[in-house]
């Protein structure tokens, strides 16, 4: 069956796909139209209660909160896409270096990955902000590094598994170089795993943007952003407590959407789940208490405020479906 149709039949995946579609749509629409001008202030309409004209009410300076959220989705999409691109490229680069090169380079890359994984993304961002000043680029670079390392760790064993396959040997024998093999065999084979990871990574990027913009090191002052809005509304939490509900709920639903989309994509692309006979043969208990758990414990820790579950070898759902992204990692750790 068509993977997209399978995704739409997966309740969690469908929910995620809808959330992401709405997000992208509102970001696009906000480029040409929002219900009100999101930065227009008017002291006559301060703290209006939610009505049809102002669905989420207005803030202290009379700005329409709904329009601010719609306009803020641009920053969210920018950060999510930018981080996913950065993390994907960095992750694949590190993973390929860790799989294709000579032994001493491989070992060096492995140590680097282990150390970088211990840096929480927020600390990377603070370090960059101290040097360069806060900006959305800093958020994107920090998440790219923080999550890229995770992608490298998850895809490296995948890449090594592909490289060990007979058809790669055949390709090598017929004179195709490393880059050709990477392009023709490795990348198509790890693409499903990569896409799932990127979906989870975007969730982390959105939370990171919210947190950093809240601290004042993310979106610039004049740019509508969900984290910024949350921090601005917090100032008046004593006067209008319920106004913080909107941006927070929107962030939560969006993060949940990306997480569930990732879950759905994993279930759809995972051959162990797609084939009921195969999934019976997956040992139900290989993941949780394996030494890999301990290995993961020391190393895996970036952007941890959100969904650590997904980026570690011990996925919470690993018992139900030892996914293709986790099983080789477990073996790696056991060795």
């Amino acid at each position: 069956m068509n993977p997209l149709r399978k995704l739409f039949r997966h309740p969690a995946g469908l929910f995620g796909a809808i959330v992401v579609a709405v997000l992208v749509l509102s970001a696009l629409v906000s480029l040409v139209w929002t219900p009100h001008d999101p930065v227009f202030t008017d002291s006559a309409r301060r703290w209006l209660a939610p009505t049809w004209a102002y669905p989420f009410g207005t803030d202290n300076s009379g700005r329409d909160i709904f329009s601010l959220i719609v306009a803020g989705s641009r920053v969210t999409v920018l950060v999510a896409v930018g981080s996913a691109l950065g993390a994907g490229i960095l992750g694949l680069l590190l993973a390929s270096l860790g799989a294709l090169t000579r032994r001493w380079v491989r070992e060096g890359v492995a140590v680097l990955i282990d150390v970088l994984i211990a840096f929480p993304t927020l600390l990377i961002a603070m370090l960059l902000a101290a040097a360069w000043g806060g900006s959305l680029l800093v958020v994107i670079v920090a998440v790219s590094i923080g999550f890229g390392v995770n992608i490298a760790r998850v895809t490296r064993p995948e890449i090594r598994a592909v490289l060990a396959a007979d058809y790669v040997l055949a390709a090598r024998a017929s004179g195709i170089g490393s880059l050709g093999i990477l392009r023709r065999h490795v990348i198509p084979n790890i693409l499903p795993v990569l896409i799932v990871q990127l979906s989870w990574g975007m969730a982390i990027a959105i939370l990171a943007e919210a947190g950093l913009s809240y601290l004042g090191y993310g979106a610039p002052a004049d740019t509508p952003s969900w984290g910024r809005l949350l921090s601005e509304l917090q100032t008046y939490i004593g006067i209008q407590p319920l106004s913080v509900l909107w941006p927070g709920a929107v962030i939560t639903i969006t993060v949940l959407g990306f997480n569930l989309l990732g879950d759905g994509l994993r279930d759809v692309t995972d051959p162990t789940l797609a084939d009921p006979i195969l999934s019976e043969t997956v040992p139900a208990s290989n993941a949780p208490v394996s030494p890999a758990a301990a290995a993961g414990a020391t190393s895996d820790s970036s952007a941890r405020e959100t969904e650590p579950a997904h980026i570690t070898p011990v996925s919470p759902d690993a018992t139900e479906a030892a996914s293709i992204s986790e099983t080789p990692e477990t073996q790696e750790g056991t060795r």
Binding site: V115, A118, P120, A131, T252, A284, A309, S315
Partner: protein, 317 residues
């Protein structure tokens, strides 16, 4: 076992060394003049010269790095470029807020994740199990800052039970007041982190439930729950130890955000302020200290896991 400990210790030292080099380089390979960044664009030439001199910026990078690390090993984290006060003393002072906060958050997280995670596994495929894992999935997507605001609205603004922000000036000399001011912040981190941990505990429990010894106990007449509780719990507990290692970084990031939300005088709030002040020497040492905490706890968790797990002891011999 000795060999394992030595390898782990060596990896820890190597990790700390690489981390310190990365932090140092990230702050020194700036676009332009480090002194200018610290002092701002309107600084006088005298001020710039003073900063260059106090940081030793004229000397080669390896020498500067060596001095920083040499100081670290003697417990001297350097002085603030902005205020001139020693960094180590200030970190120690702020740690008296951050460490209890992190510990309390962890306990709350465990109290949530442990029992509910096991329950979610036992009720798997039934409405209660679905509600528990679905709820955890949703809670784990909540931004920590928003969770904090919601708790403030309910427990401070509406019920008036707990303070919405601040930490008593007297610190821990009044333990009751200090604890009260840490309760909401810890609850904030604990709930969100607990939701993330719950999913690990659930999957670990499901894994244990599939094990032969639990099945045998069940076959010998125990109920499934009884068999799990009497025979499976040690394995589940073991997996909780590793989850803790994974969650340390999340806890620390949580404290940075929550200390700013609740205006608590901890390391996280200090770090955010120092980043704003471009106090590079302080930022450099603070980030290294936080990274070291993550790396050290990760190593400890590894070692404890190894000590507790008889199967791994077999392998080690």
């Amino acid at each position: 076992m000795t060999r394992f400990l030595l390898t782990r210790a060596l990896l820890l030292v190597l990790g700390l060394a690489v981390a310190s080099v990365l932090i140092f380089l990230a702050l020194r390979l700036l676009p332009g003049d480090v002194a200018q960044v610290i002092a701002g664009t309107d600084a006088t030439p005298e001020r710039l010269a003073a900063i260059r001199d106090s940081l030793g910026l004229e000397r080669p990078l390896p020498v500067q790095y060596g001095e920083w690390i040499g100081g670290l090993l003697r417990g001297d984290l350097g002085n603030s470029v902005v205020t001139g006060t020693p960094v180590a003393g200030e970190i120690w002072e702020k740690a008296q807020v951050t460490l209890p906060l992190a510990l309390l958050s962890m306990l709350i997280g465990l109290a949530i994740a442990g029992p509910l995670g096991v329950a979610a596994a036992l009720r798997r495929g039934r409405p209660a199990g679905f509600a528990l894992s679905g709820g955890a999935q949703a809670l784990a997507a909540v931004p920590v800052i928003w969770a904090g605001m919601l708790l403030v609205i309910v427990f401070s603004l509406w019920l008036g039970w707990l303070p919405a922000q601040g930490f008593p000036r007297a610190g821990w000399s009044d333990p009751g007041a200090a604890l009260r001011s840490l309760l909401l912040p810890a609850l904030t981190i604990g709930i969100v982190e607990g939701a993330a941990m719950l999913r690990f505990v659930r999957s670990a429990t499901l894994g244990v439930m599939g094990q032969d010894f639990v099945r045998t106990a069940a076959a010998a007449g125990r109920t499934r729950t009884g068999a799990l509780l009497s025979h499976g719990l040690p394995s589940v507990a073991l997996s909780i130890v590793s989850v803790l290692g994974i969650q340390v970084a999340g806890l620390l990031v949580g404290t940075v955000l929550v200390e700013n939300l609740f205006t608590l005088p901890g390391i996280g709030r200090m770090l955010v302020a120092d980043v704003g002040n471009r106090d590079l020497t302080k930022v450099q040492s603070e980030i290294l200290v936080l990274t070291a905490i993550v790396l050290i706890i990760g190593t400890l968790v590894d070692v404890v896991h190894r000590l507790l797990d008889p199967r791994q002891r077999e392998v080690a011999r």
